[in-house]
Amino acid sequence: MSTRTASSKKQESNKKSLIYWILGGVVGLGLVVWLAIAIAGEGAVDESIAFGEVTVEGDDLPFLETGAADPAVGLTAPTVTGETFDGEQLTIAPDGNAKIVVLLAHWCPHCQAEVPLVQSWVESGGLPEGVDLYGVTVLTNRVRDGRTWPPQDWLESEGWTSPTIKDDQQSSIVNAYGMTGTPTYVVLGPDNENLGRISGEIGLGGLETLAELAAGSLES
């Protein structure tokens, strides 16, 4: 008799404990739902300030495959006009100067590592006479990294001084230069001939090589 009472008491206590834990789970789920509703209720941010109007004249370069040689060497890159951070128009066109165009994504850790290097190289006079360096901010996405958004603030904080334009929301400049990864460097001759493209961190040695390539096109 007493064994049965003890057993039924134990069963009752188990039942109670089960209910408490399930209630704990419901409270946990409730907390998650409340957080979801609270976050969803936050006002939207105008993300258009990080993009600009872009026009592309000419044929897009074919996409650069990772690890493969650039299939577009010798082709003429399109003329690209975009908006700088100050809202002014800037054109990357055949103007008699060779160019290095670097496409940067603010959220990309490789771009974040490369930008200070490029800036210090420019400041130390690494860029040869007759060669211009342009930046393009591409694939801007505040959700991916709010700390470096908008990209103009990020570049400003890195002391970036090279003329830079913003890609549009349709990624027209990404397509124009056939970019498949960030950062991407595009080296253009004085007549906008594509001398070569490379994707990834290249460091100071790589920058020197690109500068030599660009400067070489001025001599020929």
Partner: protein
Amino acid sequence: MSVFFYSTLVSLLALVALAAAAGLLIYRLVRGPEASNLLGVRAIWLAWLVALVATGGSLIYSEVVHFTPCRLCWYQRIAMYPMAIVLLVGAIRRDFQTKFYALPLALIGLGISIYHYLLQRFPNLEATSSCDPNNPCSLVLVDIFNFISIPFMAGSGFIVIAVLLGFYVNKNSIEQETRVQ
């Protein structure tokens, strides 16, 4: 509520979970096998709560904040989400074998979290030194206190679940083990 506030809240939870796991491990080292008596069946219920909140928290990031999970995030989800169900069933049935199903998931998930965290801190661990425009795993979507990112939070969840499951032991087997010692 801002995403930053939410992330800070979840980060604090992760730190509390890690501290609790460390405390439990130290207690186990000091007390030996009988340390498992500390939590009893509560261990599996707590592990379930951790898995439930981790699952919900991860769904908030993807469905409400609109972070797109990368490949490694998906692998961690594959390890975490089933535990929210498996541990509940195991807890209701008081099945001490449950840990043999859940523990491998927690340990595999932890391994992936560690690799993902390292990849975020050292992006050059990847074969390529450029970012895939679609959704690279090296992307740091959340960075609280300069060291807590999403894989860190997931890893903390896996650790605390694994430790709690280690504490979910049948009382009879503890008594046997203590007697043998």
